[in-house]
């Protein structure tokens, strides 16, 4: 087996594939990256840890069919450091030789016959712009739980109804929901999938850089390839195993009636929250008091340091005092993707909704909502 390929193309593909390799592999071969030159003279790089698989297909300048397994991490480090010249990769017995310019590396190969075969892609379900997809996933994944002892809260739920995809995630303390349009293969396609949040965010980000369309492969309920979702774009494909689709019935938890509404400059609000939060410990609140044209932000307690700051606000409704975990508030403000932040409340112990301020006035559906549960101050 041998191939010759441009250094930049190889380095980028190897780096992308190596992302999915496990840091602490359960069996040594899973640390390997599989390189195969097919009879059709295509080069396929792949990695798999039984949860997530990744594969890139490239067109080498020269190729001779064959397959080999080498340490993925080492190959990624080597290709990143190579000079900008064509790279020759030649397998010689139990060794693989990488030559680029005057540099030459000899790598040990690993037993490729022990390597698990990659799962087949489920059937293609539809397509979406990779940049739109990446930003929507980013907005939602921020609210997914990070606690692996509660796996059902670490996922992002994808609900597909025809041409509408609804993404939702919650860690019990906030809930992010984003609706977006896509092009399904079948106009009446329906499916529900719980995708591991971290993997989805990484994948969407990596594919978003290509600027092309992302094809989502997912079987509808009962179809083949169930329990798996695939994403592919520009010669790259990745699959991941799905989580148990159990998820809170969140739609009924989203309030629709409010007693007050506050519009603030997002940037000024973020700056102010960051400043007062300097005196707040982790998981402690920033207290907000909305009064007419002003909101007073406070953090800290009498026994410790305290901070207070006032901000102008466009406020409509009953005056309210409410407190939030400052980290949750900042993550929501970072996700709304709007110059104006709109907070809507009912009472100080009921969920508040954070959205981008403007589009509602055009009668458009608010496509992104970030629900945040308050912190109750002691009575």
């Amino acid at each position: 087996m041998m191939f010759r390929i441009d250094r930049d193309v190889l380095a980028e593909a190897v780096a992308w594939t190596a992302r999915s390799l496990p840091a602490r592999p359960s069996v040594p071969v899973l640390a390997g990256m599989r390189l195969e030159v097919t009879q059709e003279q295509q080069l396929k790089l792949s990695g798999f840890d039984y949860e997530v698989s990744a594969e890139v297909t490239l067109d080498p300048q020269v190729g001779e069919a064959g397959v080999v397994l080498v340490s993925g991490k080492l190959l990624a480090e080597i290709t990143r450091a190579l000079p900008a010249q064509p790279v020759d990769f030649v397998v010689d017995g139990a060794k693989a030789v990488v030559t680029c310019g005057s540099a030459r590396f000899t790598l040990l190969t690993m037993p490729v016959e022990d390597y698990p075969s990659l799962p087949a892609m489920p059937p293609a379900a539809g397509r979406i712009g990779s940049d739109v997809f990446a930003s929507a996933v980013g907005q939602v994944a921020v609210a997914a739980g990070k606690d692996d002892t509660l796996p059902m809260l670490t996922g992002v739920r994808m609900e597909i109804e025809g041409d509408t995809v609804t993404l939702a995630a919650t860690d019990r303390y906030r809930l992010a929901v984003r609706e977006l349009k896509w092009q399904p293969e079948q106009p009446d396609f329906q499916a529900i999938a719980m995708v591991p949040g971290r993997t989805l965010a990484d994948t969407a980000k990596a594919l978003g850089a290509t600027g092309a369309q992302v094809e989502i492969a997912l079987s509808s309920a009962g179809g083949t390839g169930e329990g798996m979702i695939g994403f592919s774009s520009s010669g790259r494909r990745t699959t991941t195993r799905l989580l148990d689709p159990e998820f809170p019935k969140y739609r009924s938890l989203l309030p629709t009636q409010f007693s007050a509404r506050a519009d603030l400059s997002t940037a000024a609000f973020v700056e102010a929250v960051k400043r007062v939060a300097l005196v707040a410990e982790r998981n402690t609140p920033v207290r907000l008091a909305f009064r007419g044209g002003e909101v007073i932000l406070e953090a800290g307690s009498g026994d410790e340091a305290q901070a207070v700051e006032a901000l102008p606000v466009e406020f409509d409704g009953e005056e309210i005092n409410i407190a939030f975990n400052h980290q949750f508030l900042l993550e929501g403000l970072g996700a709304i993707d709007s110059d104006v932040a709109r907070l809507q409340f009912t009472t100080s112990t009921k969920p508040a909704i954070l959205t981008g301020g403007k589009p509602v006035d055009d009668g458009e559906i608010q496509d992104y909502r970030y629900l945040i549960m308050p912190i109750r101050l002691s009575s």
Partner: protein, 419 residues
């Protein structure tokens, strides 16, 4: 040698016999250590006056019970607190054994502490039956330290019918030694100028902080009395005992800078239970964890605290003990949360089917409940377990400790065999 206002029994003291060398100089002695005499036993004798003057032991009478308190008549046989009950019975078979009834003691304890509060706010309780008082300020109002000590002894005896002993000295540790020396029903003043004279003949074990280990180490060095210790260069003690060495040297010369700290706040609240026989059934162990969690949570709520760290103590039948703890996201005083974490800690300890002798639940990292906040969760009910447990507290205050408890802790009125 020292001016005794006591060391003789109270009855002999009235009318007061003049001390052979006149009243001791207590001008440099603002610290009082007040210690109830045989506290639990004395309180029990109030209900059983016929037992006065006989050996009485308070403690669970079972095979695994320990002595909580004993009258001086029983102590004469060598009975002391923390001694296994089986041994106490062997050395003093004629003693009357009374099982402990806790409510009674805390009531008297509270009343006694209230008496102290009327003397000065500078009260540092050490346990239910002893406290340090700094009467520097109170002396202007109430007279000398000795007069205040007598006032306290008189009020405790009058209101509760029990006796206490008071040590009066210039520092906390000397005051504590003094009260121990004059027990029972005594008063001892160690004038500031006589501290060294008082300390040096005492065995090293009398010093605060010298436990069995330190004592053995000192005896190995040929140091038996406080006087011996005082003669050892500080550098030698530091080499042997590290930072504690310098502290020992200071104590041996009567130097103790520790102030009386009024009401040292609770650092932790915990309960533990020794099983009547070793238990390996996880269900039974978890039931005990639930009972302890309920008790700890009720105590937290009563004290107005919330705690963030749950700690579980597990003692195997061979007495090896492990403790495991976890810090919660937010502080709590809810038994259900404490219990859930306790169970996780027990399960993670890998002691499944290991025979346990004792389990304990403790909340650490305490802070006032008034400053606690609670992150609400999606779909949480407005009123939760905390409110339910507060309602339990109220019912228990009104109808007694058996009024409300988790169903799994309700004992069947009949065993299954009886049905």
């Amino acid at each position: 040698m020292f001016g005794y206002g006591g060391g003789v029994s109270r009855n002999q003291l009235l009318p007061r016999e003049p001390s052979p060398r006149g009243p001791a100089d207590d001008s440099g002695c603002p610290i009082l250590h007040v210690d109830m005499d045989a506290f639990f036993a004395s309180v029990e004798l109030l209900d059983r006056p016929e037992l006065k003057g006989t050996p009485v032991i308070v403690g669970a009478p079972g095979a695994r019970g320990v002595v909580l308190s004993a009258t001086y008549e029983a102590r004469r046989f060598g009975v002391h607190s923390a001694m296994p009950m089986t041994r106490a019975r062997r050395i003093c078979p004629q003693a009357t054994i009374i099982p402990p009834s806790h409510g009674k003691y805390s009531e008297v304890s509270k009343g006694v502490m209230e008496i102290f509060q009327t003397i000065t706010p500078e009260v540092e309780p050490i346990s239910s039956d002893e406290a340090f008082l700094d009467v520097s300020g109170a002396r202007r109002r109430l007279g000398t330290s000795t007069a205040i000590a007598e006032l306290i002894r008189g009020q405790v005896a009058e209101r509760y019918g029990i006796t206490c002993s008071v040590g009066v000295a210039s520092s906390k540790f000397v005051a504590k030694l003094a009260s121990r020396q004059c027990k029972p029903d005594g008063l001892l003043v160690v004038p500031a100028s006589a501290v060294v004279e008082f300390l040096h003949p005492l065995p090293v074990a009398a010093l605060w902080g010298v436990g069995e280990r330190t004592e053995q180490a000192l005896v190995r060095l040929g140091i038996r009395t406080v006087g011996d210790l005082a003669q050892v260069p500080v550098s030698t003690l530091q080499r042997e005992f590290g930072a504690a060495g310098a502290h020992l040297a200071a104590l041996s010369w009567g130097r103790d800078e520790r102030p009386v700290v009024p009401h040292s706040p609770d650092k932790s609240i915990g309960n533990e239970e020794t099983f009547s026989h070793d238990v390996d059934d996880p269900e039974a162990i978890k039931r005990e964890l639930l009972r302890l969690s309920e008790r700890v949570a009720a105590r937290l709520r009563a004290a107005g605290h919330v705690g963030r760290t749950v700690s579980v103590k597990l003692r195997r039948s061979d007495f090896t003990t492990i403790t495991r703890s976890r810090t919660l996201r937010e502080p709590t005083d809810v038994a259900k949360e404490i219990y859930a974490t306790s169970c996780e800690l027990y399960e993670a300890a890998g002691l499944d089917r290991v025979r346990l002798r004792l389990v304990g639940v403790r909340m650490e990292n305490l802070r006032p409940a008034a400053t606690a906040t609670r992150q609400l969760g999606l779909g949480d009910r407005e009123t939760g377990w905390r409110e339910a447990e507060q309602a339990m507290d109220k019912a228990i205050r009104r109808f007694g400790p058996e009024a409300v408890r988790p169903a799994s802790l309700v004992q069947r009125p009949f065993g299954p065999m009886d049905l």
